[in-house]
Symmetry: C2
């Protein structure tokens, strides 16, 4: 027995995007406050109807100052896109093409 | 270049738990309606303060009839616990012990 049970992955790409919204003056900031809404709207449009991937809305993923944040599993790759064009690049190159977009990757430090 | 970029995982266990709540008569059901709240409260208590794991609240993960649902990444293992004791078993055996709890695993079919 180990963590590597031989189970198939349900999705090739399971994308978790932070929808946390805090008030403008909140000291932690938030992905919502950092402009997540139009980015995740774009992401949702681009991912819709693709059977081997799914997008999930989340609460706070932590690392709020680095947002807007999304993480792609099972690869465990964190992205901080800034524009809808960044989102398109992640969808086209990584989710559809299989090649992570290194310039948009961040590596949060817990 | 491939999806297997040599990046460290931020968390050994990143746990996503569905907090979706729909009204009692809603045809899709929901994890909230299926009794998720006390389970995720327990999960949060048990995971708190452990630096190599994190729990994230999500919206709908799909597969609503199978809930309450949680998924553990990067392993990609889906669980449908029914009781706080089930949650304890997942925490003790899988998250802390490294051995998935086969009796509570489900394999959703998209």
């Amino acid at each position: 027995m180990s963590e590597a049970l031989d189970l198939p992955q349900v999705y090739r790409h399971h994308v978790f995007a932070c929808f946390q919204q805090r008030p403008p003056q909140h000291p932690r900031g938030s992905c919502g406050q950092a402009g997540a809404q139009p980015l995740w709207q774009r992401l949702q449009q681009r991912m819709e109807g693709k059977p081997d991937m799914a997008m999930v809305a989340t609460g706070c993923l932590g690392f709020c100052r680095a947002g807007p944040l999304m993480v792609v599993y099972p690869q465990g790759i964190w992205y901080a896109p800034r524009t809808p064009e960044d989102v398109d690049e992640i969808v086209d190159l990584h989710l559809l093409g299989g090649t992570p977009v290194e310039r948009l990757i961040i590596l949060p430090q817990p």
